[in-house]
């Protein structure tokens, strides 16, 4: 068994007095697709935000490619280059065009020249199927288009793992499909993905492992067939009964 790409051991996090992540152990191999589900407040988003250190954990360890994440600024920037993140609120830079959104990190982080950066950005915009919107501004795009730009922007950095924090929760039902299609294509191309979502159909089709969290604890993790047909924990069973 090769070194896991991400290894989380005994992760604990408190927001003030609230114990939001309790003794989390999770291992993610390269190429694995993990979908994390659970009720609101279960700590799902906090968990993936701890991975790229948008939140700091107080106890436990996170290892990326075997290296312990220690919060040292230089290591953090290297690690973040290799982890792409897509947010529920898209978080596109509103004062820049779609193309400039993708070109900015390529130039400032990877040091690419303007022309190379534009080329790579256009390739990725074509991959998410919106090359014609390159010169528009985020405010002029629909939610589904904005999210696809956000995915393209993260993919520009050629990350080793993509983190998705409820990417379709802020979208109209009609736009959810276009974003899920992009994510499915990404999964099929072999990208390691950790996705927090409520889209169970997507989870069933794409995930290798489903993780169920409740009140900060990792209750159950299993491949989709086992997860949906033979859930072990009563908590998982009642959650599935509610949503399916």
């Amino acid at each position: 068994m090769s070194t896991p790409l991400i290894e989380i051991q005994g992760l604990n996090k408190w927001f003030g007095p609230h114990h939001v992540l309790r003794d989390i152990d999770l291992s993610v191999q390269a190429g694995q697709k993990v979908v994390i589900c659970g009720p609101s407040g279960s700590g799902k988003s906090t968990l993936i935000r701890c991975l790229n250190q948008l939140e700091q954990h107080q106890q436990g360890s996170i290892r990326f490619e075997g290296q312990l994440l220690e919060g040292d600024a230089a290591q953090l920037r290297r690690v973040r280059r290799d982890m792409g993140m897509v947010f529920q609120q898209f978080n596109l830079f509103g004062h820049l065009s779609v193309l400039q959104n993708c070109v900015l990190p390529l130039k400032r982080v990877l040091g690419l020249s303007e022309s190379l950066a534009r080329e790579r950005a256009m390739q990725l915009l074509e991959r998410v199927r919106i090359p014609e919107q390159a010169h528009k501004f985020p405010a002029q795009l629909s939610g589904g288009q904005q999210q696809r730009v956000a995915i393209a922007r993260s993919l520009c950095m050629q990350p080793k793992v993509m983190l998705f924090d409820e990417p379709t929760s802020a979208l109209d039902p009609e736009m959810i499909k276009e974003v899920l299609d992009v994510m499915t294509e990404l999964a099929e191309s072999g990208m390691t993905m950790l996705c927090v979502t409520h889209e169970m159909g997507f989870a069933r089709r794409v995930a290798d492992t489903l993780v169920f969290m409740d009140q900060g604890c990792l209750i159950e993790q299993a491949p989709p067939e086992t997860f949906f047909t033979q859930p072990q924990s009563p908590r998982t069973q009642s959650f599935l009964a509610q949503i399916l």
């Binding site: 290297r78 978080n91 004062h95 400032r108």
Partner: protein
Amino acid sequence: MAGDEAAAVIAPRPAPPPARYRWGLLDAFWLALIGTIAVAVAWRSQGALSYNWDWSSVWPFIVKYDSASASWVPNLLLQGLMTTVRLALWGMLLATLIGLLMGWMRNHRRLLLRLIASSYVMTVRNIPPVVFVFIFVYFISSQFMPALALDTRVGQLPAPIQELLSVLFGPLNLINNFFLGLICLSVFTGAYVTEIVRAGLQSVPAGQSEAAHSLGLSDVDTMRWVIWPQALRNVLPSLSGQFIQLIKDSSLVSLVSIQELSFMAQDVQVSTQRVFEVFVLTAGVYFCICFVLSQLFAHLERRHGRSR
């Protein structure tokens, strides 16, 4: 069942022309009433107001013919105007620099920086402008200006540099005076610009810096390319208002004998005894300067403003 057929989507049609405003009887009545009152007031006050307008005594104070150099040279009012314009331009620049620095410090992680910025803002904002001008100018002019000795230092510079400096800062014999007024205005306005900049920085959602950081952008790059551009675009209207206020506040430094437009206007008024003509002219000049500035900012807002 009735109403069971599916309706096709109706194609959009152009909107009907907006209703034209028609003058009604009521409008005519109000116009007549207001017009009658205005004429009656003017007629009555003609008798009461014993003032003879005499603009010809004011024009000589704008430009005068200097027989020594045989050319038209600026007289008091025009000199004052040029000082005001210099105070306004340099003041805006300096106040912006102070405001950007202090605004960034205002919400910094480090306590010391936050304390410096917030005490600066608190001190300046809680003192009326006139009192501030007096304290600042008399304190600085007696304590620091002698040490700086700007006029002697400038006098030692070569002639071409002196030429350039006199274009930028006005007549060199008054350079102490000018800098006093400039620094006073900038420090005063800087406190208000600080609050505007702070509001701008806070108006950028946290998600922007989260997205920038998760892409691997450094703190410096995030501030430079993501946060500052959006922060400043968001507060353009407030900034423009503050700069117009700066131009009007520059008239306060006339109280400490700094020779800008308001000071000169008072001087001319005293010697010609033509209160209204002088001050109406001065008001008109300030109006033009502020109006031009506000149009400039309106243009900037249209091009780079918030809703893009």
